[in-house]
Subunit: 412 residues, 2 copies
């Protein structure tokens, strides 16, 4: 009999317990042993719960119970989750987690601890909710060099952008609607400013490239600056604005970024709408593979946690190869050294003057149009430009025009 503990009884935690008991027969068949949840850790009272006898408030009970071999951490946030997980691994207990912040900030360290103690640290649920991605990516890696990953990794922002595209809504109106439907938090900043997507691309890039990519080294832009006008110009371009987390192998280094981007209609990512997520993985042997589904939600995420519990309970030998090394700051290239295409929207007095200046700096640009275009407005797409130099060039342009929109154009 395997005894496990679940730490945290919020949305994902209660879902984990629900999915666990619903599928207990299957789970035991998969593991080849009996298994039960012995403790559920939560500071709140759940005296009406059918599992009320399992609730505890003291983490040390789990830590010091030698019967517990696997713990699911679904508290979220860095503290106290990090201290808890670290202590559990050091005690020789396997941990599975849905906590993207924990893995993005402390992954290399926790994986190392797990290897040293010969236990498992799994985190399928930390990216893409119920979409299987960590384990398939890990398997792909054995016969592929993964050169690119690009994903729509945050359902909240994708819902907002879809509303802006389909219904011409402003960012604010679309956000309010997302909040009403429960797709956005009252404080939506972690979603709309890109931090959530950033954590997820850090985890995927770390696994794909074998070196830890820290969120602090990733240039992250959210969608708060996207205007209805930008969406209109993107339609003329022929595609959709999406918040993309992307990572690209550059020799021994990596380029990693989170930013809104024009995505051409011919890309599978452009048709990923509403709260759906999609992750494109480009391997040298497989070519492009895309994983699509609901990237969040109680039961999808819980289903990924339970799958990890099963794998950890089996003490599967896989775990040893699911790892990456620590890295220093130089691993992720400075944004200013990268080259990208840009869309610019400008308000100016003399369109020809601006266009002349733009083409002098960036070569031929592709002009875009929209209905009811302001007569002082000009919008265009550049070819690939060095980002550092582009910043400086934009500062020159800004002396003669107001830059109202500036969005990358990505080829995924």
């Amino acid at each position: 009999m395997i005894k496990i503990a679940v730490m945290g009884y919020g949305v994902v935690g209660s879902g984990t317990v629900e999915v666990f008991y619903k599928n207990l027969d299957n789970i035991e068949k998969k593991i080849g042993d009996k298994i039960d949840i012995k403790y559920i850790l939560d500071l709140r009272d759940f005296s009406d719960s059918p599992y009320k006898d399992k609730f505890i408030k003291d983490f040390n009970i789990i830590l010091n119970d030698p019967e517990i071999s696997v713990v699911a951490e679904v508290i979220g946030g860095l503290n106290p989750a990090y201290q808890y997980v670290k202590s559990l691994l050091e005690k020789g207990k396997s941990v599975v987690t849905s906590n993207k912040e924990l893995v993005a900030e402390k992954g290399a360290e926790l994986i190392k601890t797990a290897r040293e103690k010969n236990v498992n640290f799994f985190f399928e649920a930390s990216v893409g909710g119920g979409i299987p991605i960590i384990r398939p990516l890990h398997h792909c890696l054995s016969a592929n060099e993964i050169n690119e990953i690009a994903g729509i990794l945050n359902g909240t922002t994708n819902y907002i952008l879809t509303k802006m595209i389909d219904e011409g809504e402003s960012f604010e109106a679309a956000l309010t609607q997302a909040q009403k439907l429960g797709y956005a938090e009252r404080d939506p900043s972690a979603d709309v400013e890109g931090a959530d997507a950033c954590r997820k691309i850090c985890i995927l890039a770390s696994l794909a490239f074998g070196k830890h990519v820290y969120p602090s080294s990733v240039h992250t832009e959210g969608i708060t600056g996207i205007a209805a006008e930008d969406i209109q110009y993107c339609k003329d371009f022929g595609g959709a604005v999406k918040l993309i987390g992307w990572a690209s192998r550059k020799g021994n280094n990596a380029a990693v970024m989170v930013c809104p981007a024009f995505i051409a209609a011919s890309s599978q990512l452009s048709s990923v709408n509403d709260v759906f997520n999609a992750i494109l993985v480009r391997g040298d042997a497989t070519g492009d593979v895309i994983f699509y589904g609901k990237g969040a939600g109680k039961l999808p995420t819980a289903s990924a946690v339970v799958s990890d519990i099963i794998m950890a309970a089996k003490m599967d030998s896989n775990s040893k190869s699911l790892y990456w090394n620590d890295s220093d700051k130089s691993f992720v290239l400075d944004r200013k050294s990268l080259e990208n295409k840009f869309y610019l929207r400008l308000i100016c007095k003399d369109k020809n003057e601006i266009l002349g200046a733009a083409e002098k700096m960036w070569g031929k640009v592709k002009i875009l149009h929209r209905d009811n275009e302001n007569e002082n407005e000009i919008a265009f797409i550049t070819d690939k430009v060095n980002e550092g130099r582009f910043d400086e060039d934009c500062a020159v342009i800004a002396e003669k025009a107001q830059i109202k929109g500036k969005i990358r154009v990505l080829d995924y």
Copy 2:
């Protein structure tokens, strides 16, 4: 040191050897041991190959060499692959295969033999080429009941349909083009008549439902009867014609079919074009998850074979839960007991008479139009109807009209 053999040096076999040696460092790191290919079995001569010393023509050398613990079967076809694989498993050697016919026809038996001998039988490459699907589906199963699977499982037919849709080509013209590009074989029947897609949906359904689904029990229609006119009417419907392999849980039974179908534009499957494949898996906890990528090709398929070699070489404990039981004919429901929506295109003298008869039998229908519609032509979509009864009803209609197009309308 682990010694393996590769049986078959055609497209997938030579790709397997190529991907294996290219990634050998990674592979050995994953396995935690040295590994090498000792034999390559092929009746042809490859005296110019850098691997010429490994080639053998006698299967018994592999079978009787106790050093060989894992064999990749990439010969294809049922014979002699089946006898070879069966003997190898009985000898206690693990086998990985890309052979969909073998798994679809003999899966339950070979899995059983592998379990009895405590070795592995893996077949990730048999469905979806380089798209990871067998293993993710297997993992999903632990915390989900999979109720539906629907996929575009054959790249050749999807290429042909895409040409017909995008360029208005006839089936014959699109097939000729596919053959010129090497996307279709000189004898294209296994692709265009649906047998290839049938084998793949059988494998996926067997895994998802835990009982073997035999190709002979699956109603299979290909795309040879699809006319340019049907494609045009589908545009008015708002979607695309796709060859879909689908499987649906029906209590303790299953409905499984391969057929061309109208797929609404709102479905992610409708935008899967050219030689790409996509597989939709509907779990009760995860919701809809889609796996997308190139479903064939030398390196993608080889990459899946190599991943399986690694898993098998690790003698991973997973393998025991990757199984299904044998079944009898009654497991897959008779097509005539199923309910589906149909599109019908008819040539008749009196459209009102036909429409009246149709609505009397099937209730209100949705009439479709196309440019340059023949004045004697009528096309419409029914609501869900019982297929057995629909056959009979169509026989009645056929007394008064020619049925030129009859395609299911599926909600995926």
